[in-house]
Amino acid sequence: MSDTTIYTARKIITMNRNRPIASHVAVRDGRILGVGDLEELATWGEYKLDETFADKILMPGLVEGHAHTMEGTLWRYVYCGYFDRADPDGKMWEGARTIDAILDRLKQAEVEMTDPDAPLSGWSLDPIYMDNKRVTRADLDSVSQTRPIGVLHASGHILNVNTKALELGGLMKTGLNHPGIPLGADGYPTGELYGPETMTPVGVHVGFNRSLTDSDAQGLRDFGKLCVRTGVTTITDLAARLEPDGVESMLSVTGEDTYPARVVPLQMFMGATAKETVDKVVALKKRATDRLRLGRIKAVADGSIQGFSARMRWPGYHNGAPNGLWYTAPEQLAQLYRLALAAGIQVHTHTNGDEATEMVLDTLGPALTDVPSPDHRFTLQHCQLADAAQFRRMKNLGMCVNLFANHHFYWGDEHYRLTVGPERALRMNACRTALDTGVPMAIHSDAPVTPLGPFFTAWCAVNRITASGRVQGESEKIAVEEALYAITIGAAYTLHMDDEVGSIEVGKKADFAILEDDPTEIGGPNLKDVRVWGTVSGGRVFCAADL
């Protein structure tokens, strides 16, 4: 018979109503044999008692339903963000709060580089926290005039580059006439590039190319470390290109004995027909492993609200910007939904604007009439601007939603002031409405857009505080217990994995978040400060301090 280990804990929060709190959990073969007190668990026979967690709080391993493994890769670049953020090795990078601070950090990194021609890359820049003062190519030229430099904005939609990079990309010239390339008084580009079509020609010279979204082996390992540090044991890569080499690499890395998380990559619906995409994912699903859950699709309906590329219903953008862009036509989405439903493949669809959400609801309804699928759990991702009526339709269609709680903190002020105006800003990421309507809900970070950290995400949903410190949308706050549900079993449900992970109960995977603080006692205002010791994934113990 296999060995049984019984862990003693200060407290085990199970998220299972039949045994909400316990003191011990028994693990056998990487699964939960039972949860309760020692006497109860001892009835399973011989065991080894492990006191490692005797003073810790155990929760189900946290589930992040919308992130990108690219976060792991980006940490090899210079962090230029405004907020403090921890890297995969646990080093806390202080936020760079002025342009000078950003330039100093880049200069320091530049000095340490040995290859004089290698590009210098930074990430997570966000001028909105610095009175919207823009970085120019002259600023970056002060770091180096001979080496191409590029700094990607936190949104991922804007790239700042220096003169050398513009030269290499063929854009260091006058006479350019493109809405994505602001020009200086001298007629040359200022060095800010908006949107993929202007970023791509220069991006390849500064370390940002398309394949960055496919994290490499090192990036995926680093991503795993971030999971351990944040208590996450199941995480999505939303979305991936899943080209043959990338799939092999992901299978190999997640298959390593020391890989600490279950990764759920979703195939991006782009650049192939609905049929090709569904056929490919059906084939990929057969190759899924315990730690690489292939077999799902992500579609993208529109762009982003702060980029003014989200599709908005009347009255549109608050500042009068024209309506955004469709990334997928309704007909293509309709075809995808029908084929995927028929093949039993789940589709998650990115919508930001409320018109995009409406379009998805209008499209999925008829598809479900054609292909009845009682437990499809098709999920709206972000879905930031949905109103109450749309949540009611989601409920009726059997949809789930994964709301972007972190966004509310980072860009809520911007939405209030500029993009959607005061009234609609209050209802953004409407967690309370989702729960009251009975729509199964998760909340997410969209890392690397915002930092990975489910307790921070939960804090955002509980407090709805923006970066400037205002509470925005009092009526959409949720309780701590509801937020903890959303980052465990709630997110697992949106992935059809709630039978395996998301709670601590017999038969499920032995996936735990090991905590120093009790999130149910620390209080809503402090929820983001819950300290994470590490994780247990499939019965294997990962201590953050030992990574």
Binding site: E197, T200, A272, T273
Partner: protein
């Protein structure tokens, strides 16, 4: 090396883009076309045109190719420019929801490429409905407003008065556009790509098609080249396309390229002979003359 001409072909789903691209490939007649599509599955190349096929490239009779660019158009363009032999003309078939003007804008950023215009296919039968569509209406209107040439396709499916009404509506949406009515995507190739126009002009006596004709203007002295190009692009003249060479007032040989109301001039090799080939609608060519 002269800039590689790029034509952006757009229009909403079902307008007949694929049929027209096949038609152009079938009539390429020695012009090496490279067709870039979002995804292969969207563009069904007629079986009899295909010579060879792999995951990323379809080789087509007559030296043409078709490749899918997925999400990296810039990369695909740069690859195409490196091919041997180099294609004569690139055709980007944009997706049904794309804003073709944005694609043309991106192409114009790249050195070594020249935007030969935006050609939009529209379905004569469903166009007005699509323009009213709850979700796609404004996208369809943006596509129309980006066009230099609109191919109003499937005219056989609508009554004459309805067609006239749709045509007039289109002209009101985009006063600068040239509208070519057609059926089954059977458009005169010279109207879609300037490479065809140049070849047709070089192949001897100007042939006349069903509803279009061609003529060549030959300036006999130096001219204000921008003035001339602007004149040829004037909507009152109604030319669909014009392309050729003239000598500037300072004696520099210049290339003139006109598609609908869009015009461009650029320096050319001095050994080029003056002469601009013009394509317009039959019956409207009498007023075409040097300014």
């Amino acid at each position: 090396m002269p800039a590689l001409p790029v034509t952006v072909i757009g229009g909403y789903l079902g307008a007949g883009k694929t049929t027209m691209v096949n038609h152009l490939l079938r009539h390429a007649d020695g012009v090496r076309l490279a067709v870039l599509v979002n995804e292969f599955g969207e563009l069904a190349i007629d079986e009899d045109l295909i010579e060879a096929e792999d995951d990323t490239l379809i080789s087509i009779a007559g030296g043409c190719v078709c490749c899918s660019f997925g999400s990296d158009l810039t990369g695909a363009l740069l690859e195409m420019a490196k091919m041997h032999p180099r294609p004569d003309h690139l055709l980007i078939e944009s997706s049904g929801v794309a804003i073709p003007g944005a694609i043309a804008g991106s192409v114009s950023l790249l050195d070594g490429f020249h935007v030969d215009g935006v050609v939009i296919l529209a379905d004569a039968e469903t166009l007005r409905d699509s323009a009213q569509d709850k979700y796609m209406g404004d996208t369809v209107l943006r596509q129309i407003s980006d066009a230099n040439i609109i191919i109003l396709n499937k005219t056989d499916l609508v009554a004459a008065d309805a067609l006239a009404e749709t045509s007039a509506w289109l002209a009101a949406q985009n006063p600068n556009v040239r509208i070519i009515e057609t059926q089954h995507g059977n458009v005169v190739p010279e109207a879609v790509l300037d490479s065809f126009l140049v070849k047709a002009a070089a192949s001897g006596p100007h042939h006349h098609t069903a509803n279009m004709e061609m003529m060549t203007l030959t300036p006999d002295q130096r001219v204000d080249v921008d003035d001339l190009a602007r004149h040829l692009a004037d909507e009152n003249l109604g030319l669909i396309r014009a392309k050729g060479f003239a000598t500037s007032l300072s004696g520099q040989k210049m290339l003139i390229q006109v598609v609908g109301s869009r015009w461009a001039t650029s320096e050319a090799a001095q050994d080029k002979a003056d002469g601009i080939v013009c394509l317009g609608f039959k019956g409207q060519m009498s007023k075409v003359a040097l300014p």
